[in-house]
């Protein structure tokens, strides 16, 4: 996300940091870089203009060029302004005090409404303890209702639909009633994609809104959208006065400048970001985190939150203690991998870490590799897992046969496990507190053993542990 913007600003500020004091020219140069980077990130040019002006004014007021560390102060000012621009704090949904909370989804064709609807239901159920239900009102796109039924079933929430012959307004009303009667406390209504200048379909959306009186209207917006993102948002806002935005497809390399401009122009916050095709790849939007990320500080807060959800505290403490004593075994390794997997796909974790070159961030990690590693470890005996030195040639052949792999794969895993253990020991001596699975300042080398398979190319170089290396 924001790869290039991040790189640009990092480049700019790297230059600034290396100097002691800033001249007027330095500031002008930095502002120019910020402006270009934001434009290249598809931030609306009007927003860029006012943003750069604000930063400039503040720099003038704060007399930055006389301060001790002017470059840091520029970073701070830009960071604060970015946070202010994207809205302060996080914006949760409005939950109804009486009766079920109704959510209406709207957006252009192909922005990802149907998938996002299911993701939102899953998130509300798992993070907010809700009992959601879905209503299928896209009667135009072939198979859209089937799609919602499929993804609804995948996340385990009921889907109310009446086929494609009924009026979407009627379906919405009927579906909300059905779901209410069935005891749902959040009802999410999916609608067809529509062009913001299609008066007829926009009228239909208005009618649906009027019929079901939603507590939240959410605009689903593709993060790859260009300068038009703002006018699309403005037109949807004029029609249905949406309450917030879900920014989708941020798992690609779209710089997603819309996050910066939509809030600024419409006053409506980004509420969620969608980061992948998996149905758990939806997260609350945190403007402060996004700003940190833009400035190259990484999205470490999200990562910590994910880690907190995935790791049982006892488990983690136990693991850390064993690490400190250098007693890390294949069993611990297996446990650690399972915790990792609870956090989501490997790639989604990578995306959150600061300082990961985009070549690595953008590679596809074959998640099946992790299953393969698991198979190999599970084919070891208890003794072997506790003491890998036991594993001689004949044991290796047995493990290979048992797990359905070549002996080389087993050799590689054992070798990399050894290296990983050595590295962890070194890091532990350094005394840093280590969230399981993440190398503190370890940086180089290591690598999640075995991940260097096809398609994972240079994974090992920046791999695991040492993922947090900077």
């Amino acid at each position: 996300m924001f790869d290039t913007l991040q790189e640009k600003l990092e480049g700019t500020f790297a230059g600034l940091r290396s100097k002691g004091k800033l001249t007027e020219d330095d500031i002008a140069g930095a502002l120019r870089e910020i402006r270009l980077a934001l434009l290249e990130a598809d931030v609306n040019f009007k927003v860029v203009k006012s943003f750069v002006a604000t930063v400039k004014d503040r720099l003038a007021d704060e007399k930055v060029h006389e301060a001790l560390q002017p470059a840091q102060q520029i970073v701070k000012v830009v960071n604060e302004e970015l946070v202010a621009l994207m809205g302060t704090g996080q914006s949760k949904l409005t939950f109804s005090q009486r009766g079920p909370t109704i959510v209406l989804m709207a957006g252009l064709q192909g922005s990802g409404k149907t998938t996002t609807t299911a993701k939102l239901a899953k998130l509300l159920r798992e993070q907010d303890g809700k009992t959601p239900a879905l209503v299928a009102c896209d009667v135009y796109r072939p198979a859209a209702i089937d799609q919602l039924k499929t993804v609804g079933a995948q996340v385990g929430v009921p889907v109310y639909e009446q086929g494609t012959d009924k009026d979407p307004v009627e379906i919405a009303k009927w579906g909300v009633q059905q779901a209410t009667d069935a005891g749902a406390d959040v009802i999410i209504v999916d609608t067809a994609g529509r062009l913001d200048i299609d008066e007829q379909l926009m009228g239909e959306l208005v009618a649906i809104k009027k019929a079901i009186k939603p507590h939240n209207v959410l605009l689903v917006l593709d993060s790859m959208t260009g300068q038009e993102a703002v006018s699309v948002a403005e037109r949807f806002d004029a029609a249905v006065a949406f309450d917030g935005v879900i920014l989708t497809k941020l798992d690609g390399d779209a710089r997603g400048g819309a996050a910066l401009s939509v809030k600024s122009v419409t006053g409506k916050p980004i509420k969620f970001v969608a980061l992948g095709e998996q149905l758990d790849a939806l997260e609350y939007f945190h403007p402060d985190r996004m700003a940190s990320r833009i400035l190259g500080m990484g999205d470490v807060l999200t990562l910590i939150e994910k880690a907190e959800q995935a790791f049982e505290e006892d488990e983690a403490a136990d693991l850390e203690a064993r690490l400190r004593k250098g007693q890390f075994t294949f069993d611990d390794f297996l446990k650690q991998m399972k915790m990792m997997r609870r956090m989501g796909s490997f790639k989604s974790i990578l995306a959150l870490l600061p300082g990961i070159p985009k070549e690595i961030r953008n590679i596809d990690v074959d998640e099946r590799q992790i299953a393969r590693i698991e198979a190999i470890v599970l084919s070891m005996t208890k003794e072997e897992r506790g003491n890998p030195d036991l594993i001689d040639g004949s044991r290796r052949r047995r493990i290979a046969a048992g797990s359905g792999h070549e002996v080389q794969a087993v050799n590689q895993l054992i070798k990399q496990f050894g290296e990983m253990k050595k590295m962890m020991k070194m890091m532990m001596k350094g005394g840093g507190k280590l969230p399981p699975g993440f190398g503190g300042d370890g940086g180089a080398g290591g690598g999640f053993p075995g991940l260097g398979g096809p398609g994972a190319g240079n994974m090992r170089a920046g791999g695991f542990p040492g993922l947090g290396g900077r």
Binding site: E40, Q109, T150, M224, G226, Q227, G252, D253, R255, D366
Partner: protein, 340 residues
């Protein structure tokens, strides 16, 4: 207005006496359709123009006024032309202004068009050569950019000109993609090749060429599943399909078209770059120009990557796919009353 004969090398007029009448009807309908299309395109471009002129100063052009230059820049950025191409265009404009060649707003608009047209000119041909028998056209792009619809419209167009066409459903991933394409194939009278859902797209490519040699069809149109250009595994799959085609038929695919949604911002550049690196893209189809989007990313892609724009999509009807005409496109983006 660019004629289909200016796009396709080797396009049949519908020769032979039996088809002459049909051909002339087709040609007449096409002229009519084109006229309708052009006015619609102008309509949609008028919106861009309004957006653009809103940015630009009213009255005469004053090359000394920095604010004017800023507004020109902003107009280009607002159209999604992107920073690099905007800078390139503005630098050349400035040089012409300094040389005293630009004094009026009309001069400026004309110069903008001329410079943009020059920047968009590519070494790669902007035509589609269908003289090879069969000619294989492969369609690639990100999800939801309009690949299947474009294939359907191309099949209809070529069918109307009397070409035998095989349409191949290489998108075995998206639910109902093959069914969608089957409808287009039937409408256009094309042969249709598919496999089961989740099947091997390479096998579909193979079958399509077999089918063409069986039936003597002159053109094979191969659809593929939409994919984000950052998904290495899926891009590798695309490369494989490309290799299957190369192996089975030397010279194939003769044409690899990338569909780009006109609503896309600067990420369009990344898409073009990545797809070009994987499968040697020979041309761009700029789709969904019927929204309010300006499609300025086309200028950036042609200029910075040297990939020619070949077709534009401006709606869901069969006639809403047209050969890309740089003059029309730029005339709509930078009209004479640009500064008015």
């Amino acid at each position: 207005m660019r004629d289909w004969n200016d796009l396709f090398t080797g396009l049949d007029a519908g020769s032979g006496s039996a088809t002459a009448a049909a051909a002339s009807t087709t040609a007449a309908a096409e002229r009519e359709g084109s006229g309708r299309w052009f006015s619609r395109f102008k309509d949609s471009m008028a919106r861009s123009r309004r957006a653009m002129s809103a940015q630009l100063v009213v009255g005469a052009f004053d090359p000394e006024d920095a604010a004017t230059w800023e507004r020109i820049e902003e107009g280009l950025i607002a159209a999604d032309v992107g920073v690099t191409s905007t800078v390139a265009i503005v630098e050349r404009l400035e040089a012409e202004a300094a040389a005293g060649r630009l004094t009026t707003a009309q001069d400026l608009a004309a110069a903008l068009r001329r410079i943009a047209a020059e920047l968009m000119r590519t070494e790669q041909s902007d035509r589609i050569d269908i003289t090879a028998n069969p000619t294989v056209v492969m369609m690639v792009g990100v999800n939801g950019t309009g690949k299947t619809t474009t294939i359907g419209k191309l099949a209809s167009r070529l069918g109307a000109h009397g070409h035998g066409v095989v349409v191949a459903a290489g998108d075995t991933f998206r639910a109902a993609a093959a069914e969608q394409l089957a409808v287009w194939a039937e409408r256009s009278g094309a042969e249709f090749v598919r496999t089961h859902d989740g099947g091997d797209p390479g096998a579909v490519a193979w079958d399509a060429i077999e089918k063409a040699s069986e039936t003597g069809a002159g053109v094979v149109l191969l659809d593929t599943a939409g994919r984000l250009h950052t998904k290495t595994n899926l891009m590798a799959e695309l490369e494989k399909v490309h290799r299957v085609l190369e192996r089975q038929l030397p010279g194939a695919p003769h044409e690899t078209l990338l569909s780009i949604d006109a609503t896309t911002g600067q990420n369009g550049m990344r898409q073009a770059k990545e797809f070009a690196a994987a499968v040697d893209v020979t041309g761009i189809v700029l789709t969904k120009l019927d929204g309010t989007s300006k499609g300025g990313i086309a200028v950036a892609i042609a200029h910075e990557l040297g990939i020619p724009i070949k077709l534009v999509g401006i709606g869901e009807g069969v006639d809403d796919l047209q050969p890309f005409d740089a003059d029309d496109f730029l005339q709509a983006l930078f009209p004479d009353d640009l500064l008015a």
